[in-house]
């Protein structure tokens, strides 16, 4: 502990009841005056708007002009749209395929469906969370007494291409990163000030981070261990340790508890979210696992760190040395955090026997922990602050070209290569191929959506594959999909379509399209009963023959209630 303040007399009297005399740690009811808070608030607002605007503008250009749209982002956008505009509106549309918060955060931007059909919700959503991340970093840098040089460091972070991609294209990773940044910074704040306020913000931020990316669950547990062990080592009373851990863990337990309950109630499997769900990002290789032995995993992890977060290579040894020389406990804890950040995707790859689980975006948590490590080193190494800052700046500068290269060469990624190509050439990437064989752009989706405009009638489709079309129409109510009444109801409807269904919409190249599996000839345009009404490179719209076995028209709202999973995570 670096700071142990003295409680005022009245509260000391109160606290005497709870805190044993031998404790050398006093977790205080906070003593902060409001002095300077207004200034910090304005600064935070300025940082937020500056970076959010910059990333938003970049994202708008990338998504709307260069047409670089990650498919997982588009899938989540569609789910969010269905929450408001499906018939009936359905919270269950969020599904269990992605960590729920990555979809929930898009909800405010699609209250009006134009937010989805224009795709503006994607860059705006990610830019806002990037702005929050920057505010979190700035506050942490300020607490680490970095001074005004912190603004320079923030800029270096923001221009890192991996960060810029996550911050601008609607990817879900930035949501978890924003909360994880706040959470770890709060832990550092708690350690430095012994102020319970940080346990509140840390606990809440970790809770949100875990439902934005399950990879943060180990961080959250590690944070709890940090709190418990630190208090115990300073001979805090059992009550204090217990109370502090409850304060820190309660939000996470609650939020994960609710999520487990939903899984249990809706799909009958409490841990469905862990066993079957995707990460926030679905990369090119998601559709087929790439066998992962230990050597390959270690090699891929090394490549991830080297290309995605080389700063960690400087920070990890520095933290270890600082911990050993200064007996600096938090430096040791942060080193463990960093190792966990590195090991988490590796562990997942081993567990799922899929090397593609080590995604390029997994570099972001490593990058963030490295930054917080830098801050703590700056705060701890009073005699070497300039050196720490200089090395950090060099590390961040070097990270930029390295990350730029990573966008191009790292094998397991989303649309990063297309993003790089777009920025380099400033040309529309529509129709080009990104690394891993992902076709860039939404031209097919847009064309199909425009065709379906007006009052063309109801379309039955597997939304897990045709989400792009649904999003771009802005009218999910026009579709009879798996979100309406659940998987079983949808399958029944697909087998005997209700009378008001006029069309089937197939995703031509998606092997996971269940409708295509049921009507393979029709999906290929070879079934004479199903007349192809409109065709794009990715989608086929066919008219449903009247003599197909029909049931009476039903409103989706009248269909049985979930279970539903709204399909598997999106694949192109």
């Amino acid at each position: 502990m670096t700071a142990v303040a003295t409680p005022p007399a009245a509260e000391a009297q109160q606290r005497a009841h709870d805190t044993p005399a031998q404790s050398d740690l006093v977790q205080l009811p906070p003593r902060h005056s409001d002095e300077g808070a207004r200034g910090r608030r304005y600064e935070s607002l300025a940082i937020f708007f500056l970076f959010a605007a910059a990333f938003g503008a970049l994202g708008y250009w990338v998504v709307s002009v260069l047409h670089v749209v990650p498919f997982d982002a588009l899938d989540r956008l569609t789910r969010a749209l269905m929450v408001w505009h499906n018939d009936p509106p359905k919270l269950a549309a969020i599904g269990f395929a992605f960590p729920p918060l990555t979809t929930v955060v898009l909800l405010p931007f699609v209250v009006f469906s134009a937010g989805a059909s224009s795709l503006v919700a994607l860059p705006v959503g990610s830019a806002i969370f990037a702005g929050i991340t920057m505010v979190g970093l700035n506050r942490a840098l300020d607490r680490a007494e970095v001074g005004r040089l912190r603004y320079g460091l923030l800029v270096l972070v923001a221009v890192n291409p991996i960060v810029a991609f996550a911050a601008s294209t609607g990817g879900g990773d930035i949501v978890g990163i924003a909360f994880a940044t706040i959470a770890v910074a709060a832990l550092v704040g708690w350690y430095a000030t012994v102020d319970t306020r940080y346990l509140v913000s840390g606990g809440m931020a970790f809770a949100l981070a875990t439902v934005a990316s399950y990879g943060f669950i180990p961080w959250w547990l590690l944070g709890a261990a940090l709190v418990g062990v630190t208090l115990s080592r300073h001979r805090a009373s059992d009550d204090e340790i217990e109370g502090s851990l409850i304060l820190f863990l309660a939000p996470g337990v609650f939020i994960l508890g609710v999520w487990i309950l939903f899984n249990a109630v809706v799909v009958g499997e409490p841990v469905f979210w862990l066993t079957d769900a995707a990460s926030t990002t679905v990369n090119a290789a998601s559709s087929g696992a790439i066998p992962a032995d230990l050597g390959a995993v270690l090699s891929q992890t090394g490549e991830l760190v080297l290309l995605g977060a080389p700063l960690a290579l400087l920070v990890l040894p520095a933290l270890v040395v600082c911990a050993a020389v200064q007996r600096n406990e938090l430096a040791a804890w942060l080193a463990v955090f960093l190792l966990v950040a590195i090991a988490t995707p590796a562990g997942l790859a081993l567990a799922r026997d899929d090397l593609a689980q080590i995604d390029l975006q997994d570099a972001l948590p490593i990058f963030v922990i490295s930054l917080i490590g830098v801050m703590w080193l700056h705060q701890s190494l009073l005699q070497a602050r300039a050196l720490v800052l200089a090395l950090a700046a060099v590390g961040l500068v070097i990270s930029i070209p390295v990350a730029w290269r990573a966008l191009d060469v790292y094998p397991y990624q989303s649309m990063e290569q297309a993003f790089r190509a777009g920025l380099s050439t400033r040309e529309d990437q529509e129709g080009t191929m990104s690394r891993g064989g992902l076709e860039v752009g939404v031209l097919s989706e847009r064309a199909m959506a425009e065709f379906l405009g007006g009052d063309r009638g109801r379309v039955l489709t597997d939304n897990a594959q045709s989400f792009g079309v649904i999003a771009l129409t802005g009218r999910p109510s026009q579709f009879l999909d798996r979100a309406d009444g659940g998987d079983a109801a949808w399958r029944r409807a697909a087998a005997r379509p209700p009378a008001d269904v006029k069309y089937f919409l197939f995703a031509k190249n998606a092997s996971g399209d269940e409708l295509r599996s049921m009507y393979p000839l029709a999906a290929r345009g070879e079934d004479p009963r199903f007349l192809t009404v409109y065709d794009t490179p990715r989608y086929r719209l066919v008219a449903v023959p009247t003599d197909l076995g029909r049931v009476d028209a039903v409103r989706a709202g009248d269909l049985p209630t979930p279970p539903t999973t709204s399909g598997s995570p999106a694949t192109p």
Binding site: P7, P8, A9, A10, E11, Q14, R15, D18, T19, Q27, L28, P29, P30, R31, H32, S33, D34, A37, V83, W84, P88, P89, L91, D195, T196, R197, Y198, L199, V200, M204, S237, D239, E240, E242, G243, S244, I246, L247, A250, P251, F254, V258, T561
Partner: protein, 705 residues
């Protein structure tokens, strides 16, 4: 009585037991002894006063006999020959006058050590030696009175139980009489006898004579006796003031009517409209109602979260350092009035006095009003039995309706001498330096500050699960929510005790509303409306947490009823309220005070959720379409957790780590709250002004200490 009869027992030296001036003016003379009985001849028209004056001679029974003025004058002339006529100046100016300390020593009522101690305190506080000795309990008021009487050669009089002639007693304006502590007790010719607790200044003496148009003679009496006499004299008028001042001053702010006429029309109109809508479009109407309730609930939850988060980790309340308190010059400290309404609390008055004695404030500058209801003889007797020093004053509130705490406080306020005043409950244990902290806080705050709320919590929080929950709730309310409101500059519904006021401003506002059963919350809103600010102070008063469920529900039902009353009073004219408060404060008022309505909604939503989970009933699903469902779901998952977590954070903000796990069980506590809320709501209709009395002293362990 004839001259001959008097002659038989006449002893001129006995007459000198009474002051010549008073004897001559009152027409009374002591003329002899008969065993232990002092024989007193009186020609006075104020025989009772004459007798009481005679009773001031210690050690004798008094027998008053009527005599003509001629006889009395003759006896006085004999006892006081012309050469012995006293100087009609204060003896204080006489060189041979013994000092008060010397007199006390001489009489043996105080030891040298006690005198020296009092002199040391006098150096620090600048107070009079006699006052210090009386207030510290070394000597009694009666002893001091006797000494002062001797010291100033002013007759003293025992007014205990004295029934003054109303015409004489009210010959001075009541406010003047109360402010100056002067009560006319008798009149003889053009001479008015006034009872005073301390000698009149020449200026006041002159002013009095100018007012009355005659001579004024002082009779020294104890402050306690004078206050009691004032109550007897002005009781009826005081009760009227205590009950109706606010109603007459600002009827729109008084809860004497539950609903205004316009509100009644609006309410019945709304009910009729709803019924019609229910008949015409049942489901749609229910959806609208559900939606509105959900949105309101969610707004209340989010606002409370915002307030709590604002306060979390920040020092939003006024902080007073030990150095600032040490820098106070006690000579400059003003008189501080403490109002303590008590009802059926005889068992705790001993503890109460001990707690108040622990306050770090010069006793001579304390003005403690123990406010008892007339029918509560047990408490009154218990207080009298304690023979408390004179900074404690027992004020017996005449029995009348509404019999409420605010009415008692208003009554006490009429007698308050302090520049500042504060309310404590009987079982309260304020931080010892709380009054000094309040003084510093008032002095360093803007002029518009009219009230400072100290934080409240409980000393018996570990007694049982209920007291733990209660302590957690208070920690959140007083350590997070109120400082958050303070920071936002919006109305603060005051807590029931430890509200420190600038007395003049409190009077200016008409003080508390006796018809409102949460007069504290109401007053907080009225202060804000009047343009005054309220702040929270970093000082705590520990109270006794209600430890029995039934008792707790009674108390909480009153609080809920009072919040509904307060909301209805101030929302009589929403447009006017909006213009008075501004949008931010208007919304805050509706979410904080109006927020009490959510406890009525809780059981309904809980029931709907439970029934739906158990039965999957379609009609319930129908009530929650789309947006309504999202608001309700947010309310269920976000709102409930927010409340729970803020409870937890509040407990830890206060350092109550051991209570953390109990905060997780708070939803059960909310169930009790809803029960109480419904009781309060029903009582608002059936018994709007009924004061659900909280029984104190249930903390047996503490009580036995």
């Amino acid at each position: 009585m004839s001259a001959a009869e008097i002659d038989g027992r006449h002893d001129p030296t006995v007459a000198r037991l009474l002051s010549e001036r008073v004897s001559r003016t009152l027409g009374v003379v002591a003329y002899g002894l008969e065993g232990d009985t002092l024989l007193v001849a009186s020609s006075s028209t104020s025989a009772e006063v004459a007798e009481r004056v005679a009773q001031s001679v210690p050690g004798y029974e008094i027998r008053l006999v009527e005599a003509s003025q001629v006889i009395v004058d003759a006896l006085l002339d004999e006892a006081y020959p012309a050469a012995d006529a006293p100087e009609l100046v204060a003896l204080a100016s006489r060189p041979d006058q013994p000092r008060v300390g010397e007199l006390l020593l001489e009489l043996g009522v105080a030891s040298d050590e006690e005198i020296q101690g009092a002199l040391a305190e006098q150096q620090r506080t600048g107070d009079r030696l006699g006052d210090i000795l009386v207030h510290s309990g070394v000597i009694t008021e009666a002893e001091m009175l006797a000494v002062l009487s001797e010291h100033f050669d002013v007759q003293h009089v025992d007014l205990t139980g004295f029934q003054a002639d109303p015409e004489i007693a009210t010959s001075l304006p009541e406010s003047f009489s109360r402010d100056s502590g002067i009560v006319p007790v008798a009149k003889s010719g053009s001479t008015l006898f006034v009872a005073v607790a301390e000698r009149l200044s020449p200026a006041l003496h002159a002013e009095l004579e100018a007012q009355t148009g005659g001579q004024v003679r002082e009779l020294l009496a104890t402050r306690t006796a004078i206050t009691e006499l004032m109550q007897r004299v002005h009781g009826e008028r005081d009760m009227h003031d205590a009950t109706y001042t606010l109603m007459e001053l600002a009827p729109q702010n008084s809860a004497h009517r539950v609903l205004s006429s316009a509100q009644k029309v609006a309410m019945w109109g709304l009910i009729a409209l709803t019924l019609v809508a229910l008949v015409l479009a049942t489901v749609t109407t229910l959806i609208v109602i559900t939606g509105l309730c959900s949105i309101f609930y969610l707004a209340v939850s989010l606002y409370r979260f915002r307030l709590a988060y604002l306060a979390l980790g920040h020092k939003l309340e006024i902080t007073v350092t030990d150095e600032e308190i040490a820098a106070l010059d006690e000579r400059d400290l003003p008189v501080y009035t403490l109002l303590l309404p008590l009802y059926k609390e005889a068992s705790i008055v001993g503890r109460l006095a001990a707690g108040l004695d622990a306050l770090d404030y010069p006793k001579t500058k304390l003005d403690i009003k123990l406010l008892c209801e007339e029918d509560d003889t047990e408490t009154i007797d218990a207080i009298r039995a304690l023979q408390l020093p004179p900074h404690y004053q027992l004020l017996v509130v005449p029995d009348s309706l509404p019999k409420t705490k605010p009415k008692a406080c208003n009554y006490g306020l009429l007698f308050a001498r302090g520049q500042y005043c504060v309310i404590y409950d009987g079982e309260d244990r304020p931080d010892p330096d709380q009054l000094k902290k309040a003084i510093v806080a008032f002095r360093k705050s803007p002029d518009d500050l009219a009230c400072i709320q100290a934080k409240l919590n409980y000393f018996n929080r570990d007694q049982n699960l209920l007291t733990k929950w209660f302590s957690i709730e208070y920690a959140m309310h007083f350590d997070l929510v109120l400082p958050g409101l303070d920071q936002d500059g919006v109305p603060i519904p005051l807590g029931g005790t430890s509200n420190h006021f600038v007395t003049s401003r409190l009077r200016e506002l008409g003080a508390w509303d006796p018809f409102n059963v949460t007069e504290d919350a109401d007053l907080g809103v009225r202060l804000h409306k009047a343009g005054y600010s309220t702040q929270v102070m970093d000082s705590t008063t520990l109270e006794e947490a209600n430890s029995e469920v039934g008792n707790w529900i009674r108390q909480r039902s009153r609080w809920c009823k009072g919040y509904y009353q307060t909301w209805l009073v101030h929302m009589r004219n929403p447009v006017r309220l909006l213009s008075q408060l501004g949008l931010k404060s208007f919304l805050s008022f509706n979410l904080v005070v109006g927020g009490a309505f959510v406890f009525l909604l809780n059981p309904i939503f809980w029931a709907l959720t439970t029934i739906f989970i158990l039965t999957q009933a379609g009609f319930i699903q129908q009530l929650f379409p789309g947006f309504v469902f999202y608001a309700a779901a947010s309310m269920l998952f976000v709102g409930n957790f927010t409340f729970l977590y803020m409870n937890l954070a509040g407990a830890l903000q206060r350092g109550y780590f051991g209570l953390a796990k109990y905060a997780l069980l708070s939803p059960i506590y909310w169930g009790l709250m809803s029960l109480a809320a419904w009781k309060g709501a029903i009582q608002l209709v059936t018994k709007p002004f009924y004061w659900e009395k909280t029984v104190h002293g249930l903390d047996h362990h503490e009580a036995s200490k």
